[in-house]
Symmetry: C2
Subunit: 338 residues, 2 copies
């Protein structure tokens, strides 16, 4: 590692999106006098009569949840995407719009209101992984659905309105912006070099061993060189697979184990129930052959210095480009040591 | 306007960035049980002895502010970009980085601690515009500086750590991502059609008169068709100019007037000192001929339904694409009526 990356402002290239991030390593010394957040506490109760995700309770839409015992999936009562949307086209001079058909679902990870991913047993996390697989299969096979986005918003600071452990799946007709960028980069690389972009990347990361946080036989967890969020991380299967359906039983366990390890480290970092948005990027389901795709799961956590001081992606970041105040290497060192 | 855009989820195309936004018009009915923000109060005092931006006070870096009477510019004591950065190149396998030389400055809009842009006199806002021009000229002419980003973060919720009216300028060697996208779109359009993208766009908007909030002889303020933030708006000069240096005296007054009108409407919308990030996008200063460029100022405000409920750009938005819950047309109607 060049020492210049430790001391001087620089920009780093994201090989997956083709975009750059500004890194200002010297800026950690900046005193913070602005807004602070309240830190996230773990829930004490296993069942909350007021929670619309707990088993047997009635949801806002009026339906009753079953007395579920592991995971539970239902259609979002206020989904941003709807199944009965016509695929219309609107073009009026410079205005261009298209109907966006889709499905929005909620996945409860556990009936236990008090749990979060780092608290769950590996077997129960494997259950979550299998639920993701089922949703990916079902939604991916649905007519007019060409992409399936699995994600989790964790913590009030990440817009999550209910602490009950849950994530979401939004599936839709068009290929979203971020996915298109990653498809293009991986495709170009495969065409140019004949090998997989993320395969080659994780090989390099495993050799250098500076940004790797943990690994097992089938997965590596690392802070990508081009990370934007302070403690952004990525869980990548060592074997190239276009989507999560390719996982063997052993790989499901290995994935669950890395999920647990990373989120436990997160909780330990600032001694708080660590907020983040996480998401799985995988190949579109439009039936094309996406042999360039190597699926991976990313974590975008907002906290910067403590349980109450977050990184604001505002102003310069909105108008110019992403910016971060600590290097990927120092973030990895901290998380690795926990 | 097609009525389908009022009722069905759809995506809209941003002609400036080439990216899409998902619009879910039906989603306004969603109840909000998540995090709420504290609403922003106006400052009562003209001078705050604790404020590091007030005249004569000492800044964190140790320097004393002069007893300034209109605007005041100084180098950010904890700038993300620094002048003495070497323009090194780092390439190691798939890792790519470059030294990013730059300058970060702070611009106080007024010595009066209690003011915000909507409260300021037109003459004082013209002063701010002229200060932006001076900074653009000086920084744009600086060796190795190829782009000048002028912006303001307003309100604690937007990461602003001091209510004293101020904005920032970050100038740098590389052309940032957002600017590059807008350069490409405007260039392609000019090459293809022989006319200016934003000229044609505002002509269409002025004809349709659905998303226009206000206008005067030289400027129009509107909610762009592809707006991402709930009440995102754009102030555009009617005449194509690559940057703010082209403004006549009359145009400076007209710009100041639209600035005041828009921000007054914002404050009236939820009866609060309305938070936002605003920024001016203009042609790079690398010496090339950017005849396609039509500068404009954008406002990205986070509030969605009230002074305390904001839109979270998380999860799906981070992993897939931008998403909004109200249409640009309904946002424009509300702001227009105020
Ligand atoms: O330098 P400031 O105003 O303290 O910092 C604020 O604006 C910067 C530029 O938009 C952001 O990078 C910071 O995250 C934000 O807190
Ligand atoms: O549907 P939810 O979880 O209430 O809503 C949350 O996640 C969505 C998807 O990331 C976002 O669009 C919302 O802004 C956020 O509050």
């Amino acid at each position: 590692m060049s020492s210049q990356l430790k001391t001087h402002p620089h920009r780093r290239y994201n090989i997956l999106t083709g975009e750059w991030v500004l890194v200002s390593p010297h800026r950690t010394k900046r005193p913070w006098q602005g807004k602070t957040e309240s830190s996230s506490k773990k829930q004490a109760i296993i069942y909350d009569p007021e929670c619309y995700l707990c088993p047997t309770n009635t949801r806002i839409g009026g339906e009753d949840n079953p007395d579920y015992k592991s995971t539970f999936v239902f259609k979002n009562d206020f989904g941003a995407l709807l199944e009965d949307t016509p695929l219309f086209e609107y073009k009026e001079g410079l205005l261009l719009a298209e109907g966006e058909k889709g499905i929005s679902k909620v996945i409860c990870f556990s009936p236990n209101h008090s749990l979060t991913i780092p608290d769950m047993e590996i077997a129960d996390l494997v259950n979550v992984v299998e639920t993701w697989q089922n949703e990916f299969t079902e939604l991916g096979n649905t007519k007019d659905i060409n992409y399936v986005q699995i994600f989790e918003n964790k913590g009030a600071i990440m817009g999550c309105s209910n602490p009950h452990p849950h994530g979401q799946v939004w599936a839709q007709h068009s290929i979203p912006t971020e996915v298109e960028k990653k498809t293009n980069s991986q495709k170009n690389y495969l065409e140019k070099t004949g090998s997989g972009l993320l395969e080659d990347y994780i090989e390099q990361e495993l050799n250098e061993d500076i940004r790797v946080i943990s690994q097992n036989k089938s997965f590596v967890t690392l802070i990508p060189f081009w990370a934007v969020w302070p403690y952004e991380a990525m869980i990548v299967p060592k074997r190239k697979m276009a989507n999560i359906l390719g996982l063997t039983d052993k790989e499901k366990v290995d994935f669950a184990e890395q999920l647990k390890t990373l989120t436990q480290k997160y909780d330990a970092l600032f001694d708080t129930s660590f907020p983040y948005s996480s998401g799985i990027h995988q190949a579109p389901t439009d039936g094309s052959n996406y042999k360039e795709w190597h699926w991976h799961m990313s974590f975008y956590p907002p906290l910067l210095r403590s349980a109450t001081v977050k990184k604001f992606m505002v102003g310069y970041e909105m108008f110019a480009m992403a910016q971060r105040d600590i290097t990927a290497e120092s973030a990895a060192e901290k998380l690795k040591s926990l």
